[in-house]
């Protein structure tokens, strides 16, 4: 019995030692990583603190409550992570500080809203901020697609004009016109798909802007909320422009198809 108890105690002591040792190792390793990250982010932090005004001495009359929910201070803390991450991910030095300030301020606003017990708004704002970069990539891709569709519409217009004006042989014309009409149909479809993607994204952006209005109405003192709304409005404007251009391309392609059709009927 005594031997069994001894073994049990021994095993327990060994387990505890292993547990304590691994926790300590993990803590050391975390500390080491944090120190390295701080070193890498060092210069960015200085720039960021300068940008948000934290390098200057804070006024003494700041109350503890105000300090607790201070966006500027949280912004700098957030910027350490944002700037550090931006550098670790290999982004250019010039934009790191600027991006870090915006990112830090946004993260800080999320924290402030959460600290004020506004969990729903904090969650919504965090989600909107997380989406902005991905939306930007999607908008850039859509703008590229719209520009390409625009160029193709111009090119198809000159092809139709050329075929109608220069091909005198009716049989050859009908054969070429059939192929061109099919191409125009395909292009109309691609253009519709691009427009559809842009409109779906626009719906999401409209909802996000409405959410931001609600959050700003509730916390009008937090500046970074307004910055985020401005960024969303700018994205919305570009997407609206893309949809408008896609509509123009659609009309131009349909006009070419109509022109081709009437010429086909005329020469049949």
């Amino acid at each position: 019995m005594n031997k069994l108890t001894g073994n049990l105690v021994g095993s327990l002591l060994l387990s505890i030692s292993v547990l304590v040792f691994s926790t300590q190792t993990l803590a050391w390793s975390m500390k080491d990583t944090w120190e390295k990250t701080k070193d890498i982010a060092g210069s960015t932090v200085e720039k960021t603190q300068e940008a948000v005004g934290l390098d200057k001495k804070q006024p003494e009359e700041t109350t503890s409550e105000e300090k607790e929910f201070s966006v500027a201070e949280d912004a700098a803390k957030g910027a350490i992570v944002c700037g550090g991450l931006a550098k670790l991910l290999g982004k250019g030095n010039g934009t790191v500080a600027k991006a870090a300030v915006a990112c830090g301020a946004a993260n800080a606003a999320v924290t402030v809203l959460a600290n004020q017990g506004k969990k729903e708004y904090s969650d919504k704002y965090a989600a909107i901020n997380n989406d902005i970069a991905a939306t930007e990539k999607e908008i850039q891709a859509l703008e590229k697609e719209t520009t390409s569709n625009n160029k193709k519409a111009v090119s198809y217009k000159s092809e139709v004009d050329k075929l109608v004006a220069k091909e005198k042989d009716d049989k050859k014309f009908l054969s070429k016109a059939g192929d061109l009409r099919q191409e125009l149909d395909g292009q109309l479809k691609s253009n519709k798909m691009a427009k559809s993607k842009a409109e779906a994204k626009l719906e999401i952006l409209n909802k996000q802007v409405a959410d931001m209005d609600e959050i700003i109405k509730d916390s009008p003192d937090i500046e970074s909320l307004k910055t985020t709304k401005t960024a969303l409005l700018s994205q919305k404007k570009r997407l609206t422009e893309s949809v408008k251009q896609a509509n123009g391309v659609n009309d131009a392609l349909l006009a070419q198809k109509t022109k081709l059709d009437s010429e086909i009927i005329k020469r049949s």
Binding site: V9, D123, E199, E203, I204, I264
Partner: protein, 183 residues
């Protein structure tokens, strides 16, 4: 005494570890799907989420019914255009003028057959998109926005089908019948 202390410590450590492992991480946010999580940890059935999903399934089924109706309408027009084209092809007109007129109408019928085919392809793509969205069991904003967009695209396609059908019914098919009557 020592054994008792060790046992208590072990109990505390085990309790901490077990509660750590059992921490669900389940989201109670109605916009995130966690039915499996909710069922496993009994943190609520996310009724709000289920209601949204059910409403979307009904919406998707409704859109599919509209697609089916548009498809049937197109199919009927396709048959009528096809019949008229066959009859016109067999025209043995006595005069050149009638023959030329018949040829032009036949050419236009052929173009409209291509347009019908194109609209049928649009409806098929839309149905595919709606089926895919119906399979997605989540309430994320992209899925909802895409379904709303599919609804708008369907409205536009239905409008295009209507314009095409109206033109066929009130103009082209009547002209085709008239051309045949002169044969």
């Amino acid at each position: 005494m020592f054994f008792s202390i060790v046992s208590k410590c072990t109990l505390v450590i085990l309790t901490v570890l077990i509660s750590g492992c059992a921490s669900t991480g389940c989201s109670t946010n109605p916009n995130e799907l966690s039915r499996l999580c909710a069922a496993r940890y009994k943190i609520g059935a996310n009724q709000h989420l289920e209601d949204h999903l059910a409403a979307r399934q009904i919406e998707a089924d409704n859109l599919k019914k509209q697609i089916s109706a548009s498809r049937q309408g197109l199919e009927a027009s396709k048959r009528r255009v096809s019949d008229a084209a066959l009859k016109l092809a067999a025209v043995d007109a006595k005069t050149e003028a009638v023959r030329t007129k018949a040829n032009k109408i036949a050419a236009e019928l052929k173009l409209k057959q291509l347009d019908i085919k194109s609209r049928q392809s649009d409806l098929a793509s839309l149905e595919q998109r709606i089926d895919q969205l119906k399979r997605e069991k989540s309430n994320n904003k992209e899925t909802i926005a895409q379904l709303n967009q599919a609804k708008r695209d369907l409205e536009q396609t239905k409008q295009e089908v209507k314009v095409l059908k109206d033109y066929l019914d009130t103009d082209l098919l009547i002209r085709a019948e008239n051309a045949l009557a002169y044969d």
